[in-house]
Symmetry: D2
Subunit: 346 residues, 4 copies
């Protein structure tokens, strides 16, 4: 049994980790960390876990946790993991960081977009970006995995193949993203009240959202050159789900079959990326509760652009599910262990 500790287990992503790990037959949760609820019973914070989880919440002592756990998940605000990580911790436990601290290789870009000083830049080179479908082999031997952001996961997987195969012009990429409200976290803010979110849609972080450089870095690897793009997230009145709609100009005339073949080349053997059939648009509801990303595309001959679409559950493949997938890779388990749930509908 893998002993797992979660720091930040009472946020929505942390709670989803709890849900998934409870259904993972090779894992045992030994630490339900939550600074806000120390010593309170976990099931009193998340009543769904009544009679399922008996433990009480622990503090965020990562040093101590590293002595008790084989793997540590940090589902914490930006800056926490970077301020805590050290050789002692990494020598004892694998660390999967769900924050942005180790996602961006260039510390200046991190500090510029996050307005934070990075406390452990010395681990940036070592950290592996945990987008399993792209970095599977590197993840297997990592000590520190930077679990990707929700928008970057969906955006990168949707756009990567066409960029890597040179079909689209990197200078023309526009990503219009839509997310459910759980992505905003469980903090008590007026903006996230039911009466403010319901019956509403808005853009936010326009031309300034912090997931932009993360997406640009990953797509830059695909393009083989720096990529600068527009990324606009929107808040949608639903709990879970991210949909991205990406636009790019085609570099040459292509057929449906040619583009489909490119997607299949990358994802044919991927359990969690489903390339949908012709003219079927991804919908967030069809992946809810699961680790799937559904992708598809449409060629527009009138504008010579391709529209790329991707849908996933932001709390699963966009956070906790991918973290479990990374854990499976780190510990030599079947990659899909504990992640085989079919999406729940409706």
């Amino acid at each position: 049994m893998i002993k797992a500790g979660i720091i930040g287990s009472t946020g929505y992503a942390g709670a989803e980790l709890v849900r998934l790990l409870l259904g993972h037959r090779e894992t045992e949760i030994v630490w339900y960390g939550s600074r806000s609820y120390v010593d309170q019973r976990y099931a009193s914070v998340y009543q769904n876990m009544f009679q399922i989880v008996d433990a009480s919440c622990m503090d965020d002592n990562m040093e101590e946790l590293a002595k008790q756990a084989d793997v540590i998940f940090t589902a914490t605000p930006q800056g926490f993991c970077a301020s805590m990580i050290n050789e002692g911790i990494l020598s004892r436990a694998k660390v999967i960081d769900l924050s942005a601290d180790f996602r961006i290789k260039d510390v200046r870009i991190y500090e510029e977009w996050y307005k934070l000083e990075h406390k452990s830049p010395q681990y940036l080179a070592e950290a592996v970006y945990g987008l399993c479908e792209l970095n599977r082999e590197k993840i297997k031997s990592a000590r520190l995995v930077a679990n990707p952001g929700c928008y970057p996961t969906c955006s990168t997987l949707s756009v990567y193949p066409l960029l890597a195969e040179g079909l689209i012009d990197p200078a023309t990429i526009i990503i219009d993203a839509k997310s459910g409200t759980s992505g905003a976290g469980r903090g008590a803010k007026v903006d996230n009240l039911f009466c403010e979110v319901n019956e509403n849609i808005k853009a936010y972080g326009v031309a300034s959202h912090r997931h932009t450089p993360e997406i640009e870095e990953q797509l830059g690897y695909a393009a083989g050159e720096p990529v600068v793009l527009n990324f606009t997230p929107h808040l949608v009145p639903m709990q879970r789900g991210i949909l991205i709609t990406a636009y790019a100009s085609l570099k040459k005339e292509v057929t449906y079959e040619e583009v489909k073949a490119v997607y299949d080349k990358y994802y044919d053997k991927e359990r969690f990326v489903r390339v949908l059939e012709k003219d079927v648009c991804p919908q967030t509801k069809w992946v809810e509760g699961s680790n799937y990303v559904d992708v598809n595309f449409k060629i527009d001959p009138r504008t010579k652009r391709v529209i790329m679409m991707g849908a996933m559950d932001n709390l699963v493949k966009g956070a906790a599910g991918q973290a479990v997938q990374n854990m499976n890779l780190l510990f030599g388990l079947e990659e899909s262990l504990g992640l085989q749930q079919a999406p729940m509908f409706p």
Copy 2:
């Protein structure tokens, strides 16, 4: 492996059965019945099952299905199962009927409330009412299980203990129920459109809903005498979930501890019934996607009544989950097999 066939697999309850059985390691689905979609790929009707289910939809030939399956689930309109069932079918396969055909022992009551002629009253005596917590032993040896209705499951489990122990007056029971929209099925009706259901609540079937006699029969067993009660269902703008709020006059003065002890007596060892802690009100969200029923109560000394509350997922414990629980009992498996998912939140 148990070979399972589902007639009506493209309704919401049928689709939930598919989801649950796919995660049940002792079962294989051999028949995805759907009169409306015969020969269409199941995954084209329920896109969440893309790359998970390869099968196409079959017709509703129950005779033929009985030759191929060990267990048949009928998630069909009232009247179907009663019109098809026969000795040949029952000799070959167990039948779990999710319709109301075999739930009510008195055929006149069935015909009066359902406005239907019952085609197979000869099986009413044999059929076992599949409320597992109450009829566990009988279910184990049944051939034909009448899977309870969603409202009756939640209502009966919430009220049964206090009635059985003589704490409340059967003549005073009032059940005010609230249900998500999936209970109305996947039929294309104006009343169930998003724009009609959203931002709305209404009562329906007031003093006439067909689940009334089913609840009355079950609670009559608890009371040891006929029970006549008020049952009022409401439609709530959510997908899943049933909440019942039941009222009854206490027959004597009781303490919290006494009433709690009664609930514990009935449910202490029940995996799927959770008696919540003092003053915690059941919420449908805390059981979503799971087979749990959360119950609790509040004594009102001012009115000498007790308010009994229960929450569950109408598609799981209220339909498909309880059907799987019944299947487990029929085949001698662990009762919770395939039903161990923790509730999903949010």
Copy 3:
């Protein structure tokens, strides 16, 4: 032009008052009070009022406001109005208090249920309970109007006629109420976040909600004797709307026509109470944004009970709309002025 001041104009009820008064041709808003947003532009707090309201928020100096306004609306937490009100204010301006401070005549009951010391019990006798349909004449000459609570408005109007006419037994009344989330206010609380409210229903304040004694007092006037009842509110995933479902035992056998005649006797000439046609159940959506209360009933001959139902918009008839209706009465205007909007659907 009536000069109106609002204390608490940035809560949901206060904001609804702003919306309604802006459409009221005999009124001008001279004071947008909001302790939390003093000196901030009102339209920056409620962006819907951009280019419509130019004013900035004022403090809650009721003394000063009384010098500038003809009428003061206090849409404030319990205790505020009682702590501020005095002869000087009442001699200059009419006061319509949307809090509970002056709704309950017996100060001991107020203090017991609200856990607050009442600072001005000397005005309790003078204050008029502003349920316009019942107290119209008294309101016209009042100085201080206690605007009814949302649940009490809907409950009282639905049950009053049958009680007043002696058709139902006061000892058997049970009111099961359902409310949208705006009733919980705009405070930043985890419980009211989108992800907590959405796809959820729960009871709260069971056997202890503070609107209980207010309903009991009003229905006591109808019965001519003290009434003790059960009142259970529920939180529904919608913004606006209250539905109440009330149960009571009939004192004698009655026909549909007899009961209908009783409702018509009370409401036939009422513009804002609509007695629906036979078998049409009230729905909150059909009154949204309007000052209507839709009521109806169903006789259950099996249990000898009647089910009474009422639906209204909690922010309009349940708060701001009724306050405007009271203002119209106070100033001798047509009672429906500024309240003639048809309900918005969908």
Copy 4:
């Protein structure tokens, strides 16, 4: 009093026309047309109108209606108005067509995108495109007004100024649109059921939606040259509201102030177009129930693009409200008559 007739009064746009015209003091509705509900009471189809509208539904005899009405609104499927319109009708009554029949000047484009033969192309030249802010003077003297589509209204108003002033490159325009579900109409379709729409977002009509040529034509007038663009609508789990997010490359370096000045030049005196303050993103909730369009923009110096945003209520400014605005222009009334409601929040 203007006598108004509505053909298609029981669709969502038609019902919104009824709501708005009932609040319009210079208009009287003389004809509630509805092919599906002929002879049924209008208030039985839309219960919100109980005791407000007494009329029953009429057929769609436009000839007869033209004899009784001063203005006819056709809120009907594509093709209806074109198949009915003739000189007799136009000589008696003004016609405001809410369908697409007379929006596109080039009949071949209409027939190609709508897969319909146009039955009255002879009126295309005469028909005036009823986007009031752009075509005010022409509308005043029209006989036949083509009321704009919902997406085109929001898209055109958001993008027009920058295109007309030559700030953006027409070849780079991408419009990503999001709409509430009322835009899909009241037809009973599985895709529009609550359980399918709720907790879901999807793109539809990708690279093929029929509003594309309408937007292209209008923006072509702004550009002074043909415009070909990408338009991608998405279905959002809300009732009302359209948000568009448009992208285009800037032709030169510009400051915030310069772009703001361009928007102000076009909209400073427009009552129904609100150019928001710096960094305030339009939200559909802030315009709900009103005729406002809120627009704003953000310059992205990294990509040298501008992001243009617009929000409105699809049933008001996107359909019925704009139709009333057009009626006001046609009859020489104040343009905002009957449209002065402040947006409703929440």
